[in-house]
């Protein structure tokens, strides 16, 4: 069993799994490994949106629920497996708006039951959420309704990082939403491009981009592990692959062929698509 396979073996079926968007270090090798281990009934949380990782998991039958502000492939268009599954009612979709996801996770970071958020009132999202309430701002002498968003506690945070060090810290650079997920989740699993010696918290330049080992449950090496998405300064987004995926996944057959070629075969991501 590879390190990544062993890592995702710790993510149980039915887990509430927080994932980053395609632009923020998605753990694509781990996603492929989850499909290979035939994970079931995962409940995905998009922080705050989802893309290819969710579309692959949904198409492969690993997902029961999607909680997200959006699921899309960005410039490559709609996420075809998400779209079809949602239209056919095969998955439960809980719609959010981006800052409500961040706010709910920040509440968990702070250990408080909810946090207020401006805006949103009058959106049909409000009525669809039993975990949101509209309350009067207690500090205002006049009528001032404000949204309260209940804390969200993911079972698992799963993302990719540039480095892990000997102390168990991981480095995500500016992608600090990953720190928010790690702080809020019960277990955090991270794939990394490279291991490095020492303790990054001893380095003043690296430390601001570090998520401390305090929050990290498990790490596995996955070189080019975000492919076909990118890792800043290491490799870029494989736009041609995303375009080809968006086209292939429009049909069930095309998607299954894609899985055969790039997931079941574990085709090395360093090879061109």
């Amino acid at each position: 069993m590879s390190g990544v396979d062993a890592l995702v073996a710790q993510i149980p079926d039915g887990a509430f799994v927080a994932l980053p968007p395609d632009y923020s270090l998605p753990a694509m090798d781990a996603v492929r490994a989850l499909i290979r281990r035939r994970a079931k009934n995962l409940r995905l949380l998009g922080v705050p949106v989802l893309g290819l990782s969710a579309d692959l998991l949904i198409g492969a039958g690993c997902v029961a629920e999607v909680h997200s502000s959006a699921v899309s492939l960005g410039e490559a268009g709609l996420a075809p497996r998400f779209t079809e599954a949602a239209e056919r009612g095969e998955i439960k979709v809980v719609d959010y708006t981006c800052p409500a996801v961040h706010t709910a996770l920040q509440a968990t970071e702070k250990g408080v039951p909810y946090m207020p958020l401006r805006g949103v009132l009058g959106s049909d999202l409000v009525g669809a959420h039993s975990d949101w309430q509209v309350a009067q701002n207690p500090f205002s002498p006049s009528k001032d309704p404000i949204l309260l968003v209940a804390a969200i506690v993911p079972d698992v945070a799963l993302f990719h990082a540039r480095w892990a060090d000997e102390a168990g810290n991981v480095w995500v650079g500016r992608r600090r939403e990953l720190a928010t997920i790690a702080h809020a989740a019960r277990h955090t699993y991270v794939t990394v491009e490279e291991f490095r010696a020492g303790d990054m918290l001893d380095d003043e330049l690296l430390a601001p981009g570090v998520i401390s080992a305090t929050y990290v449950t498990g790490v596995a090496r996955a070189e080019r592990g975000a492919w076909p998405l990118g890792v800043a300064d290491v490799y870029g987004i494989d736009d041609a692959h995303l375009t080809a995926y968006a086209k292939a996944a429009r049909t069930r057959e095309g998607f299954d062929n894609y899985l055969r070629e790039f997931v079941w075969q574990d085709r090395k991501s360093s090879l061109p698509a």
Binding site: V49, S69, T83, C98, L117, L121, D124, L125, P145, T243
Partner: protein, 231 residues
């Protein structure tokens, strides 16, 4: 002769000409081009492109955008919709049995920034009497704290101005090659229409900037779009 994308970019640039800090979301190459055009014209505009692949402006993750907007540090934003109705409500979730990606940050950003609604498709399918799902409402009761909201709706055929007091759109101008009658026919909601102008074409100077520095600035983050329009 200006391409349609160039006309729309120059039109949007004029709508937001007084901006200090504009944020541009995912899949918004034309609004991004409008912002780059203002910068190329020498305006001291800060443009925060959310999906900038290199040199992304945020060091606190994507939540920093909403914190900035929540404080009022961003003055303009752009939103679209699978459906947009005559009260400027937008729907990014579902319509006619079809699922769309989702609301993104709209339910927050629409409250915090002056917002240009932008959707190239101008049809009764998109511009509807009443959206099926309100991702973000076009207006709010007076006791709801709301700094932002719609200022205009730009489509591939026309420009509408939002009239906050009337809670109604007013047709301002029709793009070259289209007519006011065609716009009425293709719009599913009612709106006011007086003194309708023709949308001005980009000037020669604007076109030169669009095809030079703007095209180059856009290509890094919207490679498909730049190839389609400018190669």
């Amino acid at each position: 002769m200006a391409r349609p994308e160039e006309l729309l970019a120059s039109l949007i640039a004029r709508l937001i000409a007084d901006a200090h800090h504009v944020a541009v979301g995912a899949a918004s190459p034309i609004p991004a081009a409008a912002c780059e055009l203002l910068r190329a014209q020498g305006k001291p505009l800060r443009v925060t492109r959310l999906h900038k692949r290199k040199g992304n402006p945020f060091t606190e993750g994507s939540r920093e955008l909403f914190d900035l907007a929540g404080q009022g540090r961003i003055d303009y934003f752009f939103l679209g919709g699978a459906q947009i109705d005559g009260e400027a409500n937008i729907n990014l979730v579902r319509a006619e049995g079809r699922r769309f990606p989702g609301s993104f940050g709209s339910a927050f950003m629409y409250f915090t920034c002056r917002t240009v609604l932008f959707r190239e498709e101008h049809s009764r399918r998109v511009l509807v009497p009443r959206v099926e799902f309100i991702s973000a409402p076009g207006w709010s009761p007076p006791d709801v704290v709301r700094r932002g909201g719609p200022i205009a709706l730009v489509t591939g055929k026309a420009l509408f101005r939002w009239q906050a007091k009337e809670r109604r759109f007013s047709l301002q101008s029709v793009h070259p090659g289209h007519t006011a009658a065609e716009v009425r026919e293709a719009t599913g909601f009612d709106y006011d229409a007086q003194d309708i102008a023709q949308t001005p074409e980009p000037s020669a100077a604007e076109l030169e900037l669009l095809r030079g520095p703007v095209a180059r600035a856009i290509a890094a983050d919207y490679p498909e779009f730049a190839r389609r329009v400018w190669s």
